[in-house]
């Protein structure tokens, strides 16, 4: 009897300890909604707290997401995020949203979205390659490139390889490489074989030639994938990558004070639109052939399939993620109310 009492006390204590170990879940009858009209409608307790998932501060996807929702300051700063967030990689976020966390929200690259999670519309536009390319989907950022000026490269060979590289990015093979690296390539109609005759530099051995790439670190993965794919097509030139940020795309290729120093680059990348000041040197505008876009980086906010939320905008997402928000969204009921007000 005494033993049984002890056991009972032990289990009761354990239950109390466990129950005291985190945010309490509201009872399912409280503010529950059915997320579909089918006969087996999953329960979703809207009064539960939102669990935020994010990539770490070195992630380009995080950079794009935070910039896209108007919260750029949080791209590299965890201390600005709402308490209780979970830092996870792409796979872990998808895994959490596809099974174990009904009350979570995260974001992934468009190329990672699968049928096991619910991809949220952004400003009532569904994320897809088509909506990204026709510019209707808003949670995205452009990936741009910039070259040095004509005759300002270390050699004519480097200049010709750089221009051939830009042409390759616009081909079907270049687009496939970009897509394989997780970005949305622009529409391409020509193959490299169709245009390579215009770039005779690629017919020679370029193994002793070094081309310097730099700029946005968010584009580094894509840029490296493209150079890896293009090198064997252009005489196996040496691709030297040093990605230090979008601001350096212009500075290191065209800023007279920097471009000819040791950090100068032949091709620069920026994961945003170039500012007007970056499209000119002094008062002279850069020719349009000297810069352009190679791809889009589209990011999708995702939730569990049982979550009734369908559509968000930058403001809703920012109010969820921002710790110091004047009008914070912390529960799913608040998120659904904000969605209804859109």
């Amino acid at each position: 009897m005494n033993m049984q009492l002890k056991k009972g006390t032990l289990f009761a204590s354990l239950a109390v300890i466990l129950a005291a170990c985190g945010t309490t879940v509201s009872s399912s009858s409280d503010n529950s909604v059915a997320s579909s009209a089918t006969s087996v409608a999953p329960e979703f307790t809207t009064s539960n707290n939102i669990v935020l998932y994010t990539r770490d501060t070195t992630s380009g996807t995080r950079d794009g997401f935070m910039g896209g929702i108007g919260f750029s300051t949080a791209a590299k700063n965890d201390s600005l995020l709402t308490d209780g967030f979970v830092i996870a990689d792409n796979t872990a976020i998808l895994t959490a949203m596809s099974g174990s966390d009904k009350y979570g929200i995260g974001y992934v690259s468009l190329s990672s979205v699968n049928n096991n999670v619910k991809a949220l519309d952004f400003n009532n536009v569904e994320a897809s390659e088509d909506t990204v390319l026709d510019n209707s989907y808003g949670l995205k950022r452009p990936f741009n490139w910039m070259l040095r000026a004509d005759n300002d490269f270390p050699s004519a060979t480097v200049e010709n390889i750089s221009k051939a590289f830009v042409a390759f990015m616009g081909t079907i093979e270049g687009g496939d490489t970009i897509a394989g690296a997780g970005a949305v390539a622009l529409n391409a109609t020509q193959r490299w074989d169709d245009i390579k005759a215009s770039y005779p530099v690629c017919n020679q051995d370029n193994s002793a030639v070094t081309v310097r790439f730099g700029g946005s670190d968010s584009i580094e993965k894509v840029a490296k994938a493209i150079t890896a794919s293009f090198k064997p097509r252009c005489g196996n030139f040496v691709a030297e990558h040093e990605h230090t940020g979008s601001g350096d795309a212009y500075k290191r290729t065209n800023d007279p004070a920097i471009k000819d120093t040791a950090v100068g680059k032949d091709v620069g990348f920026a994961s945003r639109n170039f500012a007007d000041a970056e499209k000119k040197v002094g008062d002279v505008a850069l020719p349009s052939a000297q810069y352009g876009q190679l791809a889009w980086d589209a990011i999708v906010a995702i939730v569990h399939k049982d979550n009734p939320l369908l559509n968000v905008n930058g403001d809703i997402l920012k109010r969820m993620y921002e710790k110091a928000s004047a009008n914070p969204i912390r529960t799913w009921a608040e998120a659904l109310a904000a969605e209804a007000a859109l």
Binding site: C21, V25, T57, K76, A96
Partner: protein
Amino acid sequence: MTIKTNVTKKWIDQLVEKILFFMALLSASFIVMVVIVIIERGLSPFFSDNDGLGQVNLLRFLTGIVYLDGPTFASNAYGIGYLIISTLYIALLSLLIAMPISIFSALFIAKIAPKPLGNTLRTVTEILAAIPSIVYGLFGAGVILDLVYNLSLIVGVQSSAGFSVLSTVIVLAIMIIPTMTVIAEVAIRAVQKELIHGSLALGATPTQTNFKVVLASAKSGIFTAAILGVGRALGEATAVSLVAGSRRSGISFALFETTATLTSTMLQGMKETVGLDYTIRFSIGLVLMVIILLVNFILNFVKSKVGRVHV
């Protein structure tokens, strides 16, 4: 002929001795090199300008409850006080779970199980002890997270997909149980048969003998198992990073809340970072080394006190 053979043997002995000395020196020098690099790089954030970011404040670093107050690559306000506490807390909880399971498993394998079963279990345990931590981490991410999440629903607590103190503790406990069992089992098997026979001859039952004589005699070896287990728990990074949730601020003892350890924080974004954000990981490593040394020292002290056999 005999003299020549003896000279050759002596020469071979000397050669082998020198080779062994060289190997020992090489192995020791690796450790010295690692320690020097960790110390040199780990201390540099506190004494250098860190590319214009300024020196890291040592007191704030050791006592802070926010990992980085400010933007990455643009702030030097690092703090790992909460990580030190979380790391010790998680290691302690893991040990509390792993210790009894390991000891009783070892006792069963060494003294109670029929010989074929004991041999099989010993082999299985040794294999488990040799499994890389990433495998335990993947098991944790695939199975333990779900279990903990479902448990959280049962007890009425909201968990972040199972990323939690509890998941981390369970994964670490599972990981250190085989290591501790193997060592404890060796210690239990080494208990002198005369002691066991003496206990049985005095009328003690086998169970009384196992618990009051065998375990008491093997206390020292069992403590060694605990020391190695804690060392593994404190130093584990990969498995922890897959189930902890990478908490960035605040001390939490709640079982269903996210957490982080010194090692998992060192690993977070390691491949993508540069500058102070990279170097500061050496500083965390240095702190971890000091903590492991201190914990080992304390456990060895306790071992020296309780390890004496009083059967």
